[in-house]
Amino acid sequence: MAEMWITMGPQHPMTHGLWTMRVKVDGETITDTEAELGYIHRGVEKICESRDFTQITPYCDRLCYVSAMTWAHSYVMAAEDLLEAEVPERAEYIRLMAAEIQRLASHLMWLGAFGPDIGNLTLMTWCLRDREMFLDLLQELGGSRMHYNFPRVGGVKRDIPIGWADRMRAKVKLFEHRIDEYEMLLDESTIWLVRLQGVGYATAEDQLNAGVTGPNIRAAGVNTDARWTNPYSVYDQVDWEPAVEKPTSVKGADCYDRYRVRMEEMRQSCRMLLDAIEKIPGGSNTHYQPGDEMILTKAPTRAPEGATGFSTYECTRGVSQFYLKGGGDSRGKNPYRMSIRSPIFITIPYVAKSMIGYKIADIPAIMGSFDPCIGESDR
C-alpha cells in the first residue's frame, strides 16, 4: 500500500496541548514520525533577563500550568545557589509538602486526561473531583488555584495556616483509599488493559540516552530519582522510597507500566506528606507571620558577574534544571542568562520516534502515557 503522511495536531485530543505530530503510515502501521513544537513559545528565558530574581518566580509558575509549584521551587533553588541564600528548615518542609501536593494534583490531571484517551470518560470526573481537594490545600498556601507564586528566594511566602495540617491529613488519608478505587476501576477494565499492555515499549538505557527522565524511566525497572541521586530539600529526612515498576517485557516498559508507576508515586507522595507534617520543625499547628525567620531568610538581591547557580529537581514529569548566570542588567539585579531544562521538550521527540512500528490507534495511548505538557516544553 502507498505510504502517506497524516498530520495530527496542533488541535488533536492526543496532543494534550499545542503541538503537531506528522505521522507517515503504511496502511495502519506507523513507519515514520516528526514532532513539531513551539506553538506557545513565549520567550520566558529572554523576558527573565530583564527581571530581578524575585520577579522571575511568577514566570516560572507559568511554565507548566498543571505543576506550577514544582517549577517555581526548582527556580528558587537555582537562585538560592546563585545568590548564596540559606533556607530555614521549616521552609524546606513547607516547600516539600507543597511540591508533593502539587505532584498529586499533577498526576491526577494526567490520569484524568489519559482516561478519555483510552475511552474511559468516567476517570476524568473522578480525578478532577479529587484534584479539587489538593488545589484547595495549595490555595490556602499561595492564595491562588493555579499559579501560586509561593516559594521565595530564601524561604516561602507564607506559613501554613492554623488547621491546614488537619485538613491535609484528612484529605491525604481519604485519597489513599481513592487510589485503591482507581485501581479497582482500571486494573480490571478490559479496555484499559487491551489498549495499554504490549504497546509503547521503551527500555531504560534507550530512555536515558535520549534524555527521558522521571516516572517514565522508573517504569522501566530502575529506581533512579533526582530526589535521592541529586538530593535537595529534606527528602532524606522523610519516609518514602522511589516508585519503581517491573517492566513486563525485555523490550522495556509499556504504557501499562507507566500508568502503574504513577499510581505508586501518588502513594509515596501521600506517605511523604503524612510523615513530613509530623516532623515539621516548629510544629504543624503553629503559624508564623510572613517574613518570620522561621520561614524566610533575607537573601542578597544581586549576583556578581561570573557567578553561576544551578539546580536539579525531580519535577512531576521528569528532571527539570535551571542554570543562572549572574551579572546582568540593573547592576547584577537581573540574571545575565537563564536557561531551563524541560523534561518534556526532550521526551516528545523520543516518544514520536518510539511509535514507529505500532498502529495509528496506539498513538493516544503511547503519547498520553508519557504525560506531555506543552507549557513547559515550549517555554
Binding site: E45, G211, W228, P247, V319
Partner: protein
C-alpha cells in the same frame, strides 16, 4: 527514611572522576575540578573547561569510559562585551546515573549506602568558551547522546551557535519562517512593547526611577 547519597560518597567520587579526566587530558590543557555549591547541603559536581576542538574527545571519553549516559541541558550564552576568546559560551550539563536495562518482571532497587565510588551518581558541567565572531560553532555530540539532539537544535534556534556536523538542524521553538540569522537570545535584541522601551526595560515600571537610583548596594 528516604535514601540519599552522602556528602562523603559524593566528594570522593567527584574528586576521583576529576582526577581521572585531568590525568587523561593533561597534555591538552583541559581542566577538570570538583566544585562545591554555596549551600553545603548540595552535593559537589565536576566542572570541565575545554576548547571547542577538544569537546568531542572529552564527550567520547565521558560516554565510553566515564559512564555518562545522559545529556540533560545545553546552554548557549552571548557575551558581546566579553574578551576576544570568550565572545560566546556553551555550557553542557551531563548526568551519570546507575541505569541499566533489566530483565522482564524484575527491577533494580539501588541502595546508595552500598555504592562503590564509580557507581555514585554525578553531575558534570562542561564549559566551552568560543572566540568572539559572527559565526560561533562547536562540534555536535548528537551521535553520542541522542538527548543532545534537540538541546542543540534549541541552542542554535535561540542563541545562534552552530553545531558542526549536526544532522537535520532546524528551528524548534521559533517559527520556521523566522528571518535567517535571527536568534532572539543574542544580546543585541532588546525586549520592547512596540516603541515603549521603558515599560519592559525598567523593572520598576512605567518610566519611574528606581528607588535605589545612584546607590550601590
Amino acid at each position: 527514611m528516604g535514601i540519599t547519597i552522602t556528602k562523603e560518597q559524593n566528594a570522593k567520587a567527584a574528586s576521583t572522576i576529576a582526577a581521572a579526566i585531568s590525568k587523561r587530558f593533561s597534555d591538552g590543557g583541559i581542566n577538570a575540578e570538583s566544585v562545591s555549591h554555596s549551600n553545603d547541603k548540595k552535593l559537589d559536581f565536576v566542572r570541565i573547561t575545554c576548547e571547542p576542538n577538544q569537546w568531542r574527545a572529552v564527550a567520547k571519553w565521558l560516554a565510553h569510559e566515564g559512564g555518562v549516559g545522559h545529556c540533560s541541558m545545553v546552554t548557549g550564552t552571548h557575551f558581546p562585551d566579553g574578551p576576544a576568546e570568550r565572545g560566546w559560551e556553551v555550557v553542557v550539563h551531563l548526568m551519570k546515573w546507575p541505569i541499566v536495562n533489566v530483565a522482564a518482571h524484575s527491577m533494580i532497587v539501588h541502595d546508595p549506602s552500598k555504592f562503590k565510588t564509580e557507581e555514585v551518581p554525578m553531575e558534570f558541567e562542561v564549559v566551552i568558551p568560543i572566540a568572539a565572531g559572527d559565526s560561533p560553532s562547536i562540534p555536535t555530540v548528537q551521535d553520542i547522546w541522542v538527548g543532545a539532539d534537540w538541546n542543540e537544535k534549541e541552542t542554535w534556534d535561540l542563541v545562534g551557535i552552530d553545531f558542526e556536523g549536526h544532522v537535520n538542524m532546524h528551528r524548534v521553538l521559533n517559527p520556521h519562517d523566522s528571518p535567517v540569522g535571527f536568534h532572539p537570545l543574542q544580546r543585541q535584541h532588546k525586549i520592547r512593547y512596540h516603541d515603549f522601551n521603558e515599560m519592559y526595560d525598567d523593572p520598576q515600571g512605567f518610566g519611574r526611577k528606581p528607588v535605589d537610583e545612584g546607590r550601590v548596594k
